[in-house]
């Protein structure tokens, strides 16, 4: 059963601007770890941001567990977002807050404004945050400021924050591009393990094809806003890759 159905999705940043996405359709199943590959400027980030509406699509539909994502607004949009975890290329942590507060910020969707003001998170949330930090190997850095950590550690905080949401889907926007190759592999492995353990399907933008082939079971190939490939990793081969990345030679 597919948990996410994207149909004919198009997006542009201004009404007169060029189309970034041109009629993309695909399905995500409950146990998928999808890689979205393609040259830079292909629309990978835009595609992923349409799913939690950080970017507004201009046409097409998105069904997430039967909810029509594209028509939501206000509180219902925020409730959709808290079901979708997101991990970013530049980590997007709150630098001046502690690691713990960053992880707890994953629960903001479940926390009222007054509680937020006093940072009075639910006792369960605090317990869970400590467990998550232990799981990502940061138990010794709980009270450090986020900007004191190394890149790999910062992304682990990002992973813990996303998992704090108890997400039903994870969006990964180039989660390893800011990291060196060895750390990249570790971080991808961590994300994959955690996703499997918590049973969260993932949609992962990635430009490192090698990593994509290694960690993902399905691949979408984007080129200039058009879907060029959609299928199991096993079906991807060099000639298809060459086609997807044909424009990058320029």
């Amino acid at each position: 059963m597919s948990i996410l159905e994207v149909r004919n999705l198009s997006a542009r940043y201004s009404s007169s601007g060029p189309e970034i996405l041109k009629g993309i359709s695909f399905d995500v199943e409950a146990d998928d770890f999808f890689a979205i590959i393609g040259p830079s400027g292909a629309g990978k980030s835009t595609l992923i941001r349409c799913i939690n509406r950080l970017v507004e699509p201009c046409a097409g539909t998105i069904q997430f567990y039967g909810r029509d994502v594209t028509t939501l607004s206000g509180r219902r949009l925020r409730h959709l977002r808290r079901d979708i975890g997101m991990i970013f290329q530049e980590f997007n942590l709150i630098d001046r807050m502690s690691v713990m507060d960053n992880v707890l910020s994953g629960r903001l969707g479940y926390t009222g404004s007054v509680r937020t003001l006093f940072r009075a998170f639910a006792r369960d949330d605090v317990q869970r945050a400590l467990e998550m930090l232990h799981r990502v190997g940061l138990e010794d850095h709980v009270d450090k400021r986020a900007d004191e950590l190394s890149g790999g550690q910062r992304q682990r905080v990002g992973i813990a924050r996303a998992l704090m949401q108890g997400p039903k889907l994870m969006l990964l926007d180039e989660p390893t591009s800011a990291l060196d190759p060895k750390i990249s592999r570790e971080v991808m492995a961590l994300i994959k393990n955690m996703a499997q353990e918590f049973g969260v399907p993932c949609l992962c933008n990635i430009h490192d094809v090698q990593l994509a082939m290694e960690f993902c079971n399905k691949i979408i190939g984007l080129q200039d806003g058009v879907k060029m490939f959609d299928g199991p990793t096993a079906q991807m081969d060099q000639s298809k890759l060459d086609e997807i990345y044909a424009m990058e030679v320029l």
């Binding site: 939690n52 950080l54 925020r78 808290r82 979708i84 975890g85 997007n92 709150i94």
Partner: protein, 281 residues
């Protein structure tokens, strides 16, 4: 004229024409400069004539000796006044502190409306915020104090309001500009976890601008000590009131004493401000 030509370099053809026109330009510009200088000089002479020569009561000023004598009346310190200065000095301090605090509170809407990236409805809220900031800064604190004395009566409260309103503009402008420069990544992250706009401000925006904001507030507080020291001149409490009384009773040594006291607390404010700002940056 012909002699001048001789001294110029001999070049022929189109190049010579170009050189001629450049030289002509330079001569013309010399005349323009001379004209501007003459106009400025005339304006200065006229201003001095109107404001200094005609507007000064020369007879009352008397001779140079009497001017020096008048000046020397200030060159004494009325030590007996010191004990009675403690309370107004503290009051001046408090007016500055409370005024700054109130200023920070009332500048919140101006900051929210005045930062382009978070303003709720740009065509209306943004100009409104800019208007608040401009109004706050373009009216002098003495004028604000006169206004609040008329509204809430004599005393420190009028001073506090005047300081608060006068502080709004600078704090709000600097903070709004800092917000316009923030990194959007954390904003995106908090929106992605399902945070509402209040949570975005508290988690993604405030931590990024807090050091700059604190620095601006401390800086403004330091300036507010200077401002509150003179607000008493119009009846809004503090050392200024004592200053005004000493002046009215022709106790010139007392005036000097109050000036020294004002200098003292300004110095304290500057030292505190220096260390406070160093610790937040």
């Amino acid at each position: 004229m012909s002699e001048q030509r001789q001294s110029e370099p001999r070049v022929t053809g189109t190049h010579a024409v170009a050189i001629q026109s450049i030289l002509a330009d330079r001569r013309r510009r010399r005349w323009v400069h001379l004209l501007i200088a003459l106009v400025v000089a005339a304006l200065v002479v006229w201003s001095v004539d109107v404001t200094v020569i005609k507007d000064t009561d020369w007879e009352r000023m008397g001779s140079l000796a009497s001017v020096i004598e008048s000046f020397m009346r200030f060159a004494a310190i009325d030590w007996s006044l010191f004990p009675s200065l403690v309370e107004p000095a503290i009051e001046t301090f408090m007016i500055a502190c409370l005024g700054t605090l109130l200023g920070v509170i009332i500048c919140i809407p101006a900051v929210w409306f005045g930062a382009l990236n978070i303003t709720p409805y740009k065509p209306i809220t943004y100009p409104l915020a800019r208007l608040m900031m401009t109004l706050s800064r373009s009216i002098h604190e003495i004028v604000w104090a006169l206004f609040f004395v008329a509204v809430v009566g004599l005393g420190a409260m009028a001073g506090i309001f005047a300081i608060a309103v006068r502080s709004l503009g600078f704090i709000a402008k600097m903070t709004a500009e800092a917000i316009e420069d923030i990194d959007d990544g954390p904003v995106e992250a908090i929106r992605a976890v399902g945070g509402n706009s209040f949570q975005v401000m508290l988690y993604a925006i405030l931590p990024q601008v807090l050091p700059q904001m604190l620095s601006v507030i401390v800086f403004e507080w330091e300036i507010n000590i200077r401002r509150s020291a003179i607000l008493g001149l119009v009846g809004a409490g503090g050392l200024g009131l004592v200053f005004f009384r000493q002046m009215n009773t022709f106790n010139f040594a007392g005036v000097t004493t109050v000036i020294i006291a004002i200098l003292g607390i300004i110095l304290i404010g500057e030292v505190v401000s220096y260390f406070a700002r160093k610790s937040v940056i």
